[in-house]
């Protein structure tokens, strides 16, 4: 079996002591990031990318992936014990997790979250392993028109799910695309938007923008309001494991959460937060004890936690097989991989098999590590919350500047970092999401290239995007995703125009 050979090769890469070490460091740091309030996976990965500079690409992605799913894991702990979600995808876990903890059942809640994450993470890795090569092989048939439309769809799907206002989110995307046009145009050698500044010829450094918009802006958000709310932390009483009855109730929820999270959050690109809400909705309809949901039902912890981890794993399929990020976090990972000189996409499976399979194997290992690390050490993770906010702020400042400086040894980058930190803060105030900016910035160059190559093939005719079936399908997805908030109003409008009878 070809994939057993590949998997064996992957494990031989992942099980080297140094890569095991990086996986451990990754999940460890990731869990800390997940537990810390305010620092989500996106900020965490942006801040920690500089650590990966000196590493070979395989070790770097193993470390980053560890941080990524470690952070997804860690978020649930604070949801359950403190009622303070570490990130948006563990908001749902608060509903029943905190209620369970209040009833003295924090142990089973934490265990359900950890086991659910483990099952979902392993499932997502398994599917990535089984279908990844097929998806990649299929995507090899894509030409530039398909890629352009696919990127457009990816951009609009993520954007339509970011923030409260579609106009603001789309505006953020165009800003990101505009930032991507700064620097020398590689095809014609013409400088664009450089204003004669030689440091801008290479474009704005991706990491400066990412760390500024996410990490430093978080610092400013905290500084603007340091009146820290005192959080009541619930003690962990009782056993840290599930009873037979818990298992009977949680197991179907794990499965429902994993499947729905994987397809809705991962494959459809809706993201981990939507996945967790979606699976909670399913539990409300399908769980045996649906009346208990919201009052401390174990299904309410098991399903969403499985869903957000399955979604995180599913998003990696887009990143590795298609080279298109399905979320803000994977956009940052894509940017980091490009900085390491790798171009994720369908060719990756053929050209860098030890990289892809090493990563897949390390994800199995990382999931086991998380399960082993998290439950016994839960007391220690919660202690992290004792770090006073002002020290946390100082450390984020420290790491932001250190990370940006080590990239080019340039103090101009530090200044730009500060500028983007302020911009990021203002955007937060205005409720304009920052992740579309990063996505636009990462995809901008690729989209422009694909557009040019497409028009070269068609000799300048835009019809090429609609005459090729897959391209047309992706364009259709793009249109659906940006119009969907308005369907409601279109429906109302139609009814007004034609009267009720016509529509019915």
């Amino acid at each position: 079996m070809w994939f057993f050979d590949n998997l064996a090769m992957g494990f031989s890469v992942a099980l080297t002591p140094i890569n095991l070490f990086y996986a451990l460091v990754g999940v460890f740091l990731g869990t800390i990031i997940g537990v810390l309030p305010g620092i989500g996976p996106m900020t965490g990965i942006a801040l920690l990318i500089p650590i990966t500079f000196g590493l070979p690409p395989t070790s770097a992605i193993i470390l980053m992936a560890g941080i990524y799913y470690g952070a997804m894991y860690g978020g649930s702990t604070t949801s359950i014990l403190v009622n303070a979600p570490g990130e948006s995808s563990s908001v749902v876990t608060c509903f029943d997790g905190y209620a369970m903890a209040k009833q003295g059942r924090a142990g089973p809640a934490l265990a359900a979250a950890a086991i659910g994450s483990f099952i979902a993470g392993t499932f997502a890795t398994l599917v990535l392993m089984l279908i990844g090569p097929w998806v990649a092989a299929f995507a090899l048939n894509f030409g530039p028109p398909e890629y352009f439309s696919l990127m457009l769809a990816g951009l609009t799907i993520v954007t339509s799910l970011a923030g409260r206002s579609l106009v603001k989110a789309l505006l953020a995307t165009t800003i990101g695309l505009a930032i991507a046009t700064i620097g020398i145009d590689l095809q014609s050698g013409v400088p664009r938007y450089t204003f004669g500044n030689p440091e801008l010829l290479d474009g704005l450094e991706f990491l400066v923008v990412a760390i500024g918009l996410f990490a430093l802006s978080e610092v400013l958000v905290n500084l603007a309001d340091m009146r820290q709310a005192v959080q009541e932390r619930l003690a962990i009483k009782g056993p840290l494991w599930l009873t037979r009855e818990d298992w009977a109730r949680a197991l179907p929820a794990f499965i429902r959460g994993t499947l729905s999270g994987f397809f809705v959050g991962g494959i459809a690109g809706a993201g981990a937060a939507v996945a967790s809400f979606f699976s909670y909705g399913i539990e409300k309809k399908m769980a045996q004890h649906k009346d208990e949901l919201g009052k401390g039902a174990i299904e309410g912890v098991a399903a969403p936690e499985a869903a957000n981890n399955a979604a995180a794993g599913g998003a990696l399929i887009h990143l590795l097989c298609l080279g298109i990020p399905g979320s803000g976090t994977t956009a940052i990972m894509l940017g980091a991989l490009m900085m390491l000189g790798l171009q994720p996409g369908p060719l990756l499976f053929q050209q860098q098999p030890q990289f892809v399979w090493g990563l897949i194997a390390s994800m199995y290992i990382g999931n086991v590590m998380l399960l082993v690390l998290n439950l016994p050490l839960v007391g220690m993770w919660v202690k992290i919350l004792d770090i006073p906010l002002y020290l946390l702020v100082m450390f984020i400042i420290l790491f932001s500047f250190l990370g940006v400086y080590t990239m080019n040894n340039s103090t101009q980058d530090l200044f730009l970092l500060l500028v983007f930190g302020i911009i990021g803060y203002l955007l937060r105030r205005l409720d304009i999401p920052a992740s579309p900016i990063i996505l636009g910035m990462v995809l901008g160059d690729l989209m422009e290239q694909a557009l040019r190559q497409s028009l070269l093939i068609s000799d300048g005719s835009l019809a090429i995007f609609v005459t090729r079936p897959f391209s047309l399908f992706f364009l259709f997805l793009a249109i659906v995703s940006i119009t969907n908030p308005y369907w409601k109003y279109i429906g109302i409008g139609l009814r007004r125009l034609f009267g009720r009878a016509a529509v019915a």
Binding site: V91, T174, T181, A224, A273
Partner: protein
Amino acid sequence: MKENRIASVVFLLVALVYLALAFLTIPKPTVLQILGPDVFPKMIGVVMLFLAGLYVLQSFRGVEQTDEARAAIIGAEEKLSEYVDVKTIGKMLALMLVYVWIFDPLGYPLATFLMFVTGILILDRRHWMRDTIIAVIASFGFYFVFSLVLRVQLPAGPLKWLGL
């Protein structure tokens, strides 16, 4: 909201300037191409201008609909509270600006130590003993780890004579 009105006009201006620069400053390449270097920026500029225009309309007519239930489901970030501690934020921004400025001349360990200690004095000085020790570790300790163990180059500043 006043903030949104100002912001929407700023975005409109940014879009206009971006588009104008695409027309004015991007030179034509010598070899004829189907899609020159100016076309993609012009496309982005037009879309940006359109969206910024919508934003202006929304903010001035106050029709921006926010669906809080939907916002919760997609995990939109919480809106910030209206309260802004201008004094603290201003001091810390000034501190970071000074940090950028002294980063090279004073070297990483010294500049970071000063930044950290000043930051603690601004934010919370009740545990200064403990926090000063943390500052020493975070500046000098990190410097040694990064430059000696990880081999990342950081400016040594006047500490160069220590031979490190």
